[in-house]
Amino acid sequence: MQATIDKRENIDVNPLVTYLTLGLGILAFAVAALILLGWLPLGERVDILRSNKNWIEYAVIILSLIYGIAALRTFSGLSQREKAGLAWARWLTFITIFIGLALILSVIIPTYIKLLSIPAPSEGVNITELRVADSGLLLMFIASIGIVYQLSMNADLLRFVGKLPAIRIRYSLILFLLGFLIATPAGLLWVSQFPNATSNIRTPEAIRLLPGLLLFVLPLFAYLSVRHGEEESDHLRRAISLPPHKFLQTQLATSPSAGALIGFLAIFMAFTMATDLFLRPTSIASILTNVSSKGVIAIGVTILMISGEFDLSVGSILGVVAMTFMAAMTVGDPIFGLIMSPLPAAFYAIFIGALLGFFNGFILVTTRIPSFIVTLGTMLLFRSFVLVGIAGGRILRYSDHHDALPITVLSQWFFVVLALIGLAILAYTAYRVLPTLWQRVIHNWSVRADNGDFGTASTLVSGVIAVSVSVILALAGLWLVSITLFHMGGETIQVGFFDIVNGRWDGSMLLGGEGFSFEVPRDANFRMAIVWWFILVLFFHVILTSTSYGNSVFAVGGNEGAARAQGINVNFVKVFNFVLVATLTGIAAIYETTRNPGVDPLKGDGWELQVIAMTVIGGALLSGGYGSIIGSLLGALIVGMVQTGLVLSGAPSRAFAGVVGAIIIIAVILNTAVRGRQGN
């Protein structure tokens, strides 16, 4: 990479734009200073002491400092007519537009959640005024979305600078200004209708609208008045010279989970802004706990969907496994009537589940009936096993047959071995990752002079990344060493079997030495299943992206004929994936049963569609050949956040299914738009 940028090439810059960047930089520093001095409080204040800052304020201080430095750098670049200044300007304007949009949304989103949560206006509300205000806000919202859409789709907009801007943007601008004119009074009107409607919803701060709109509109014009020349497609040049939307688009298009990531961040921010109850350990714990079992199934369903099939029977398989597990521990397993201790019972039940998955796959490849039909049939069939097995609408409860929950005795060496395995994995990761990262730093440093300040900046960025990854790895290593040392001299430990699988996570479940334990808030319901879920996600992510099996899964779903022509055993892949889904469903069933040791005949009913929803939101194509495990994780988190967030923000929780439905459609549209090519 020997890229150099000719810094002295003359460029055409409107002086107004140059001074605009200077103004933005000064503004950013001013904002940082104001927050630091306590004159500009943000977020929910615990107390009124100006010296106490909450995390939002710290984040904003750091971000505005970075932004200010970037803006000043842009100013110097533009005033010296450097070519690199153009790249800076392009990024700066893009980021500014984004911040502006975020500010606008931070007013609009809580407002609409409020609208959802208060269907019948309280007394003293003028309905007509309310409707006028509603439509004004809606119009502005649509216009903002239109502009962002144009920004990402219309490359010409960013190329014609100083000349005629592309015509389409004008319509958006007109629409936007119209919306703005109606919306500002409408928004104020709207706010006045709800002085203090519900206690846990923040009053919309209409005051944020104005700076938001300014930041949004001004850079748009700035964009239009900076001309840029032709650049070659060298990697480094590309990084700084591609227009931001192009750069983001190419980056996003390479990752199936990009849409899900955007959605995740947007929904996370929306709920954080909407209610103060959202970003708390209690709520985060309840989200994670609620979706961890479904998330585990979603891993399998994603892999299956990538190979071009899907499974409607997971809910019923979950029921069968849960019933088998519980029955084997209490009344005797449904087939042989054996009574087992918990661990063999769990393996036995998961094995039964895997057999059911094999049955699905076997029917599919022998008869070539579409998987929708096959699994629709087995969904009903497997459900009837549970309905018959647990006759009479009873609930199979562990406590009806045993006095106490099962206890497992773990040798201290168990933990030592576990920690040593962890250390080995860690060491290997460090061995693979760190040299590359540091080499990149050294490389960036060596070509720094050729690339001017941009070179210095990229050296700094890569340096920060390398240092933080090294520090994180070192800390994790220390923690594992401390666990090893702690348990080497320790004794055997008695834990509840159910607690290992899916116990509640308090301070005592942290297995580290003294120095590494931290307090988990008492009311936060973190559970072990969350840990297992993340481990499974990582494991299957590696399987899918970095093994030949993963490669053949993609090939089977993407073009079955081509896969077969290259000698891949398509039937094996499909059957194996069905077994995999069923096994993961079995694991989820064990979680669910240990969390609440009782099985009713309808356990897992309706899960199949929720899991498919998570997978689709996560970016997997229903037609196969495309998707990611990380995407399924994000999809599960999105569904969980919506479920919990709606309740917390006071919206009718019955709207949950509807909101998820809307998100699915938006997600698919987003995924298709971001990829912007072959939908097949």
């Binding site: 093994t547 030949s548 490669n551 993407g558 004929g561 081509a562 022509a565 050949g625 072959q678």
Partner: protein, 266 residues
Amino acid sequence: MVERNSTALVEMVDIHKYFGSVQALRGVDFHVEAGEIVGLLGDNGAGKSTLIKVLTGYHIPTKGQIYFEGNAVEINSPHNARELGIETVYQDLALVPLMSIARNFWLGQEPTYNIGPFKLLDKKRMAETTLSALRDVGIHIRDAEEEVGTMSGGERQSIAIGRAVYFGKKLLILDEPTSALSVGETQKVLDYTHAAKDKGMGVIFITHNISQVHEVADRFTVIQRGRKLGDFRKEDVSEVEVARMITAGEVPERLRLFDPEAEGAD
């Protein structure tokens, strides 16, 4: 009759294939030599795909014998055919559009390295080898991580051909490779076909349009209604004559001597 060399790469002798009462192939002889491009021509339904499917193991012949490199072989499955070194490039079945070039290139035989019991893909080697292997046959791509779906039909065919060459296949079968391509792209695919020939591979080029194959083929085999009309060296026939053979089934008078069926009829 064209002289037959006993060292032919593939020789199919007296192949019959019946589907119930439908006689798709009625005693066809066919051979390809190493370093030779054979145009397999015939109208739709003439039996040329059936013949190729027999060769690639999708169909088992009702009667007849196949020799590969002089040895009698039974090709019972596509897997069999692959093992022998027969690679087929279908128009739409060549590559997986949603996967990267490198992953397509190595599909089914990915290089791996071991970590304990796990085998992980050697992605760096996959990308580098793909670029260099394709460069060897004259295909220049920018980035092996690019998705195949972003490429044109001709580029996809080319990559599939490059892949077959790299993995040392002996016989390359191209099924209507250029029928949906633009003129420029067709030319490129033909060039790569030539590159494959120069590496010593035998190439069968299936088409119903003589103009697509006349430039590169050394020999034409024309099939009509399940029978072979004959083998013709390129220098012996004109494009128009072959076209007439495909459509009308008429062999020009001066070539009849070389036609085995015509001889049998006399």
